[in-house]
């Protein structure tokens, strides 16, 4: 039994119930054989429902009487070789030779973490003919660049990228490896973590270093952002985490920065892939994709039909943003699924999210709640979206949106 209540210590005070995010603790009357106790409260004891318990440990510090015992899964001796792992690595994501913005954001964060660990930041860069991007990586925070170039690595493929990354990790032993939580990163890094036998935390919104233990504190939302969890990887290295677009800030490029390039190459079999990439089809009509957009103009049921989305496109174009949509608009067939923001679509975190005719159901909210500024335009003053929008505009979007487009056009031209 990994978790238990020490019956003798428990007073049935119910503090643990309040701490439990999973509703897994109940106070039950325990029948004691003596039956002589006059104070009936002393019979009340906490009972953990193991089917609901996630062993998160939130109840342990909540209990003032130290009556909750959680057996930590510490192996007998901490692995002494953990100390051999040094440095922070960023997996550099490139598409058709171009480094993606999320990689620069991670380099910026890594520099901050590296100062707390007094260690170096390395970029791990796989591709083909990508040397023109090396300076940019160094200017944005890489102290070293591990460069692996081969025609087979020109575009991302799960197997060769996994093979190369696993070999580099085993050889150079980084203590931390960070990667974008993208369609490439999430696919690749999950395989790498299993192969290396280490922990991986998805979609971190906060990364920090424990000042005493010098380990990575990985904070992420769960249950659609309703709760946050801080996670560590105490006994395995590297400590691995993915981070979404726009969560971290890139550092201002510093052209005086110097870095070391370390070239690696491998036997041909390392680059082979059973699954073959046959073609890449770009569908993004505008120049900006949703994940990378600083500004998103999104439409919902209130748009009334597919033809009206051009109002949003015009506004997005003026602002240099992308067009999103709620599930209602996608399910009605007004706009392709690739634009859907929300639980069953994409999660976005732009600087400005303009929701037009979107009521703001929880499924939509979880996909955009990390946006810095949320603007709601809706004619229904009772729409839930006004409860969390930074600025609310109650009115007819068919008047407001074109007026906004016009006004921004005038203002931004100045």
């Amino acid at each position: 039994m990994p978790i238990q209540i020490i019956i003798e210590k428990c007073t049935g005070c119910s503090l643990c119930i309040k701490a439990c995010p999973f509703d897994a603790i109940r106070i039950m009357d325990k029948l004691e054989s003596s039956g002589s106790a006059s104070d009936s409260r002393s019979h009340k004891k906490a009972v953990i429902d193991l089917d609901k318990c996630n062993l998160c440990g939130a109840c342990v510090p909540a209990c003032k009487l130290k009556a909750v015992l959680l057996e930590k899964a510490e192996t007998a001796a901490p692995n002494p070789s953990l100390k051999d792992y040094k440095g922070i690595w960023i997996f550099i994501e490139q598409k058709q030779g171009k480094v993606q913005s999320v990689s620069y954001e991670l380099l910026g964060k890594a520099q901050e973490l590296a100062k707390k660990l007094t260690t170096q930041v390395s970029a791990v860069f796989l591709g083909n003919n990508v040397e023109d991007q090396l300076d940019e990586l160094i200017w944005h925070g890489a102290d070293n660049v591990y460069l692996v170039e081969a025609p087979e690595l020109a575009n991302f493929q799960d197997e060769p990228y996994t093979n190369v990354l696993v070999r580099l990790i085993l050889e150079y032993k980084p203590e931390i490896l960070l990667c974008g939580a993208t369609s490439i990163g999430r696919s690749l890094i999950s395989r790498v973590a299993v192969k290396i036998n280490t922990g991986l935390t998805a979609d971190c919104t906060g990364l920090d270093i424990d000042p005493e233990k010098k380990i990575l504190l990985q904070t992420r939302p769960a249950f659609g952002g309703n709760i946050m969890a801080t996670i560590i990887t105490p006994r395995h290295r590297p400590q691995m985490a993915t981070v979404r677009h726009k969560v971290m800030q890139p550092m201002a490029p510093d052209k005086r920065r110097q870095g070391k390039i370390i070239r690696e190459s491998f036997d041909p079999y390392v680059y082979t892939s059973r699954a073959k990439l046959l073609d890449i089809v770009d569908e993004v009509e505008t120049l900006v994709n949703l994940a990378e957009a600083d500004i998103i103009v999104s439409g919902g049921r209130g748009m009334g039909g597919p033809e009206n989305f051009k109002l949003l496109e015009e506004l997005a174009k003026v602002l240099g943003g992308a067009v999103g949509a709620s599930r209602a608009a996608v399910d009605a067939g007004w706009i392709p699924y690739s634009h859907q923001v929300g639980q069953t679509g994409r999660t976005v975190a732009p600087k400005i999210y303009i929701a037009c005719g979107i009521s703001g159901q929880i499924q939509h909210f979880v996909g955009m709640s990390s946006s810095k500024i949320i603007i709601a335009i809706n004619k229904d003053p009772d729409a839930p979206i006004f409860k969390f929008a930074t600025y609310g505009l109650i009115g007819d979007l068919f008047q407001i949106v074109p007026a906004l487009t016009k006004k921004f056009k005038e203002t931004l031209r100045k």
């Binding site: 999973f22 899964a73 192996t75 939302p221 769960a222 969890a229 770009d282 400005i352 921004f408």
Partner: protein, 260 residues
């Protein structure tokens, strides 16, 4: 074509609310459902079986009540359900979960395809599918939005990316994780529901699976949750009052500094 679908039972998140006094999730009376993305995995497996024949099996790891999720999958046309349930599996992170599921898949054996939803709606990690394929050392394609063709022991699929999609051909056996666009899950038929009610669900514990006990459950999980807390709630901001032109002017003024 033999297909194994991996699913997860999750709370129906529309109903997840925070108790403002205790700052904890209110889970009382919250319905458990099949993870929405897994519904597309189930549907795709049933469609492939209808086209190519073979057998479909659904597996899940969870407490005894996850039996309901397996029965729902059977009501949609899946042939058989297996529940992986053991207190020893509790506290598994994505490493231990993918190891356990991969162990069950090896025990089932003889599969051509494994299908998972792209991620679960409660954890949102998208790590278990790729983890399984690595444990089994088979090729994977994630975020699949369309199966274009299956022939001669390989399949051609469309994989969704941020910019569009990729066309990938993979030999079988392989693992796919699927997105919403791939299909529309069916409503179970009356006959399906009857079948589901009568179906025998096998339960496999650690004893049946015989996995490495140091790689399952809490002790087999490299990651460890050390703190759970409620994030500061996003509070409602201001309503900008006035006529259309007035509110538009005010908003543009407020946002000007944010737009480069």
């Amino acid at each position: 074509m033999n297909i194994i679908v991996c699913i997860k039972q999750v709370p129906e998140t529309t109903q997840v609310q925070i108790n403002p006094e205790t700052n904890t999730l209110i889970r009382k009376g919250v319905k458990s459902i099949i993870n929405p993305f897994d519904m597309y995995a189930i549907e795709e497996a049933v469609r492939l079986k209808e086209k190519f024949g073979g057998k479909t099996t659904v597996i899940t790891m969870g407490p005894p009540q996850a039996d309901a999720a397996l029965r729902e999958a059977i009501s949609m046309g899946i042939d058989e359900g297996i529940l992986l349930s053991d207190p020893a599996f509790a506290g598994s992170d994505t490493w231990a979960t993918s190891y356990t599921l991969a162990g069950a898949i090896k025990k089932i054996g003889g599969f051509d395809l494994i299908i998972c939803g792209k991620q679960a709606s409660d954890g949102d990690t998208a790590q278990v599918g790729p983890g399984i394929s690595m444990h089994l050392d088979i090729p994977q394609v994630t975020y699949v939005k369309k199966i274009e063709e299956i022939k001669g022991g390989s399949m051609r699929v469309e994989r969704m990316t941020e910019e569009g999609f990729e066309i990938i051909e993979t030999p079988l056996p392989a693992l796919l994780t699927v997105v919403k666009e791939i299909n529309e899950p069916r409503i179970p038929s009356l006959r399906g529901m009857m079948k589901a009610r009568q179906a025998k669900i096998a339960t496999w514990s650690q004893k049946e699976l015989g996995l490495d006990s140091e790689r399952i459950g809490l002790s087999g999980s490299p990651t460890q949750v050390i703190k759970i807390f409620t994030p500061p709630q996003r509070s409602g901001g201001q309503i900008i009052p006035g006529e259309t032109q007035e509110v538009v002017d005010k908003l543009v003024e407020l946002l000007k500094g944010e737009i480069n």
